[in-house]
């Protein structure tokens, strides 16, 4: 162990350059929006004398090494006026720079948190950043702007199926994506079985999707990290936005609580299709309910120049009820809380501390009929903390280290009779717990002007904690006995190193090559019958039987900026190869709900995926958007499945092409279009049939040997702003969208039904949506 640590220290020390401190000083500062007080990530800070420039971090902070004396500092940020001033170096304290937005109407169109073309010089690969504005411009199904639908348009990302909130990244399963909302894990990001996501775009600031090269400070999933950052409320003035849509209505309010010190932002959204149910002619429907809602709140306090405190929370639920006297109901949802303390420590050190709580749960209830009344509850919960320290030895060098500890509680599902008369006893399994810990250190550094390195090491530990009953199985997966463990007893521990490495070489300002290697361990697994996930899925911890999933990813990329007529078009090609071990599938006819011996249904094997992603992205000018083409394969091998032969994963879709276009016709009118194409999903079809009684039963021979027809769809959108500008304090806009504009009947699934004659079977394709127009009215004040 000590030997390993020693080697690691050497590894890092080798790259840390020693600076001659006599004539250069570190200038620290923060860039904010003069109007709202929000910090501005991605702004460029430049010192002309040294020719050095840096980009502000996620909190708008920067560090730049400059010579002593009077030094000019320039700051530029798209959508804001340029800032330039002379600063006396050394400068004591933190330089706060407030940028004035350019004309409001213009900034509505061009605000972007990233500088076009910066993908070339960053070491990171497989990362896609998108602002709420971009997400909003993609035509949305039923007008519900949705970030999960937006990321499904990116190269290397695939939708599980039409209307599904699940997504697959580079040949990974839906449970291999870590979704964070202000640093709290979101375990089920779907509403209404997946048609909409839990993210209300009114309060989303931006998203980062890491398809590989997940930073060392994050871990726990093999395929991707979707980091969703919520907006901070304005420190300067009250405002808000809202909308009335086909499916839901929304309202967001923000403003200062104490001017320039404390701000709030709150948002709510509720779907209301069921409010019309009582008007239905069909009396059977009148007692029914089906809706979802989301509530977000974020408080932001600047305690002083060096300390900031932030609280962010989310609560959302789906609710479904049938019947009036005897009632069957179901609800599910997430709750998250995160508290962040941000401290700028001595000179060039930044401390970020989080306390995080998250839960996902569902309950199903039948009541009104005493003896068959029951309640079924399941879910999981995390409570934990993380601390992260950033050290900026120079403007081109960032060392990051920290740790995290999380207590997990798992409630795999328990069904109980509601009253004494109920004929239901108690079914399912009781709660269990686990602890997960991680320590990490990483280093991002420009070694020369052309060569940059990013490397890190994460060490993670996962401990199963009692009380628990652990079921034991033999090599044939047969149950052989059980062991009980007492409260707080640690009865199984897994751990492992997760190295991350990236290298970038810039040929000139517009071309670079990058390579990376990434290893991740995953200790939580989703027990789901379906590929798309559903509300009743449960998360299962690693145990003596269920080993942690291990993923290795190698990637190579070429990044290029094309500059036709002074505009930047980002072009990139990335190729990846992934190996995944201890992958989970389920035995035939597995029973995953209310099953205390759930682990006995698991089967284990390997998976691998490879592919190439091509992207052209234009984010400046009147016409913006991207074209993404992905070629990829995803395969699995599990001894007990498909007779041990390799089979395509259910998300193996070799070709995928996405076009997203957005055009500003005039300052008031914006047009958008999105076209998606992908190879049809693999499907297992019967090779034969047999008759039993008067029932026809299928016989399957090979898993995923057939494919559904190819999928393609065109969506169109238009946004028309009112003539009154923001100076009046209020303006509105109409968004019209058409989903599936040319009425492609994409096969959602195949259904086999008995025909009219005895013994006759017929095949039907099921498709979900016709041409689906919708209108949404949004307002801003």
């Amino acid at each position: 162990m000590f030997k390993s640590i020693f080697i690691i220290i050497l590894f890092f020390a080798a790259f840390i350059r020693v600076y001659a401190a006599e004539d250069r000083f570190l200038l620290q500062g923060q860039v904010t929006d003069a109007l709202s007080g929000q910090t501005l990530p991605g702004a460029t800070v430049f010192n002309p004398e040294s020719g050095r420039g840096v980009t502000t971090d996620m909190e708008g902070g920067f560090e730049i090494l400059v010579a002593g004396g009077e030094q000019e500092i320039r700051v530029t940020y798209v959508g804001f006026e340029d800032w330039a001033e002379t600063v006396s170096i050394p400068y004591s304290g933190i330089l706060t720079i407030s940028l004035k937005p350019v004309e409001r109407l213009l900034d509505e169109v061009v605000v972007t948190g990233r500088r076009p073309g910066d993908h070339v010089e960053r070491t990171e690969m497989g990362v896609f950043r998108m602002e709420a504005q971009t997400i909003q411009q993609i035509p949305a199904m039923m007008g519900e702007v949705d970030l999960i639908s937006a990321i499904q348009m990116l190269p290397g990302v695939q939708s599980v199926g039409e209307g599904s909130g699940g997504f697959n990244v580079r040949g990974g399963g839906i449970d291999q994506n870590l979704i964070l909302m202000d640093q709290a894990t979101v375990y089920n990001a779907s509403h209404l079985m997946g048609f909409f996501s839990v993210f209300n775009n009114d309060i989303v600031e931006d998203i980062h999707l890491y398809k590989g090269n997940i930073p060392a400070r994050h871990g726990g999933r093999l395929a991707s990290l979707l980091d969703v950052r919520m907006k901070e409320g304005s420190m300067e003035s009250f405002g808000g936005t809202g909308g009335i849509g086909t499916i839901s209505s929304r309202l967001m309010l923000e403003g200062p609580v104490v001017r320039d010190r404390v701000s709030f932002i709150a948002a709510a959204r509720r779907s209301y299709a069921d409010l019309f149910i009582p008007l239905s002619d069909n009396p059977e429907l009148r007692g029914n309910k089906l809706y979802f809602y989301d509530l977000n709140l974020k408080l932001n306090a600047v305690l002083n120049e060096r300390n900031r405190l932030q609280y962010s929370s989310y609560h959302g639920k789906d609710y479904f009820r049938m019947g009036q006297n005897s009632v069957f109901s179901m609800d599910w949802g997430n709750t998250t809380h995160s508290l962040r303390w941000n401290r700028i420590m001595h000179r060039d050190w930044l401390l970020n501390t989080h306390l995080v709580y998250t839960s996902y749960d569902y309950s199903i209830m039948q009541k009104g009929d005493a003896n068959s009344s029951f309640r079924w509850r399941a879910g999981n919960e995390d409570i934990g903390g993380k601390a992260d320290i950033s050290w900026f030895p120079s403007d081109a060098h960032n060392v990051n280290m920290g740790f995290s500890t999380i207590y997990h509680r798992f409630d795999p599902g328990l069904l109980t009779g509601i009253d004494d008369e109920s004929f239901f006893g108690e079914l399912g399994s009781t709660r269990s717990g686990a602890l997960s810990h991680a320590v990490y250190v990483s280093n991002e550094q420009a070694v020369t002007d052309a060569l940059s390195l990013e490397y890190g090491l994460r060490f993670s530990v996962f401990q199963s904690m009692g009380p628990a009953t652990v079921y034991l199985y033999d090599d044939q997966h047969e149950y052989v006995g059980e062991t009980n463990y007492g409260s707080r007893e640690i009865y199984n521990t897994w751990s492992g190193f997760e190295p991350r490495f990236g290298i970038g070489y810039t040929f000139h300002k517009d071309a670079s090559v990058k390579a990376s290697y990434n290893r991740n361990l995953q200790y939580l697994h989703l027990a789901s019958y379906s590929d798309g996930g559903n509300p009743l899925d449960i998360w299962v911890p690693s145990s003596a039987r269920v080993r942690p999933q291990i993923g290795n990813q190698f990637a190579l990329g070429y990044f290029r900026n094309l500059r036709p007529s002074n505009r930047v078009i980002e072009a990139s090609v990335e190729a990846f190869y992934k190996t995944m071990y201890n992958q989970i599938d389920f035995k035939e006819n597995a029973w995953l709900m209310l099953n205390p011996r759930l682990e006995g249904e698991f089967r284990f094997g390997d998976a691998w995926a490879y592919g190439a992603e091509f992207l052209l992205r234009k984010s400046e000018g009147d016409l913006t958007g991207w074209i993404a083409y992905t070629w990829s394969r995803a395969k699995r091998q599990i001894d007990e499945i498909n007779n041990g032969m390799v089979y395509p994963a259910s998300y193996d879709r070799p070709h995928s092409l996405n076009l997203v276009m957005n055009y500003n016709l005039s300052p008031r009118v914006n047009l958008s279009a999105a076209w998606v194409y992908s190879t049809g999903a693999p499907v297992t079809l019967p090779a034969g049939r047999f008759e039993y009684g008067n029932h026809i039963a299928p016989v399957y021979t090979r898993r995923n040997a057939h494919r559904l027809p190819d999928y393609h769809r065109l969506d169109l959108g238009a946004t028309i702003k009112s003539r009154r500008s923001t100076q009046d304090g209020f303006y509105g806009e109409w968004t019209i969208s058409v989903y599936n504009a040319y009425y492609r009947k994409n096969t959602w699934m195949l259904d086999f039904r008995p025909g009219e004659e005895p013994g006759e079977m017929e095949a039907y394709k099921v498709y979900l949506f016709p041409v689906l127009p919708s209108v949404t009215y949004n307002f801003y004040f």
Partner: protein, 273 residues
């Protein structure tokens, strides 16, 4: 194994109800050349309830009665003796008249055909008697009625049940989708008063004098799992909620499909007043 708890029928309903979907009949080319033996063998404790039907698998859209397997030697044996079944019609084999079922007896069925031998075992469960039946209007489906069964689940054994419902001796549960079956574990040893079947308008309007009869089949756990697999693996495939389909388990050796089931049957009835 006591983990097959309750049918998730309501969950599936919830999903299906809110998928405003459209369907279109299509032609699929699913040619296959499997010709596996399929044995549908049922031994009951009621007259004329026992039979063995042997057929073969066909391609999925064969859409005709399956080819039968004639000329098999079919033998049933237990501790108390063995019985050679007679081929009554091609592919259909029946027990000799001297056969009398014995509850809790372990039976072995041996099928010998074209130089291949297939075995299966099953222990006949004990019969469970219903106390009574009752009928009441459905809670939220107007014009429909619940048919309720009332009985105590015997606490000393793990019970699995299947029911068949008749109206004036016409079978209402005439397809697998309509056949109620359950694991007794959730209500082990408790008194059960529960709807077993929803009488729908297509089952005939409830009229005075109508006689509804419910047969209770005590089944084995293996057969319960077989039924569950039959129910889960029919119909839809593909789509984000589907998950991979599975083959239906068989308790025969040597790769034969189908099932050898033994069951004890009791009956209760109610006349509409």
């Amino acid at each position: 194994m006591n983990n097959k708890k309750i049918r998730t029928f309501f969950m599936v309903t919830a999903i299906v109800l809110f998928m405003a979907s459209c369907t279109e009949r299509i032609d699929l080319d699913l040619e296959g050349d499997l010709a596996t033996l399929v044995i549908d063998a049922r031994i009951t404790d009621i007259d004329e309830g026992s039979k063995v039907i042997i057929t073969k698998t066909t391609s999925y859209f064969f859409n005709q009665p399956p080819p039968v397997a004639s000329g098999a030697r079919v033998m049933l044996s237990a501790d108390k003796g063995s019985w050679l079944l007679k081929e009554e019609s091609p592919g259909k084999y029946i027990l000799p008249p001297d056969f009398a079922a014995d509850h809790k007896s372990s039976y072995t069925l041996e099928v010998d055909i074209a130089d291949a031998v297939f075995h299966a075992h099953s222990t006949m469960p004990k019969p469970v008697h219903l106390d009574s039946l009752s009928i009441r209007p459905h809670h939220w489906l107007p014009g429909q009625f619940d048919l309720l069964i009332h009985f105590r689940d015997p606490p000393e054994i793990d019970n699995f049940y299947m029911w068949k419902v008749y109206r004036n001796d016409v079978l209402l549960t005439d397809s697998l989708l309509k056949v109620p079956f359950t694991d007794g574990e959730p209500f082990k040893g408790r008194y059960v008063s529960a709807p077993v079947y929803v009488l729908q308008p297509e089952d005939g309007i409830l009229q005075r004098g109508d006689v509804y009869r419910v047969e209770t089949y005590s089944i084995t756990e293996e057969y319960f799992e077989f039924l569950l697999a039959m129910l889960r693996n029919q119909g839809a495939t593909g789509g984000p909620f589907a998950g991979p389909p599975s083959n239906i388990p068989s308790n025969f050796s040597n790769g034969a499909l189908g099932f050898f089931m033994t069951t004890a049957v009791t009956s209760a009835e109610i006349a509409v007043p």
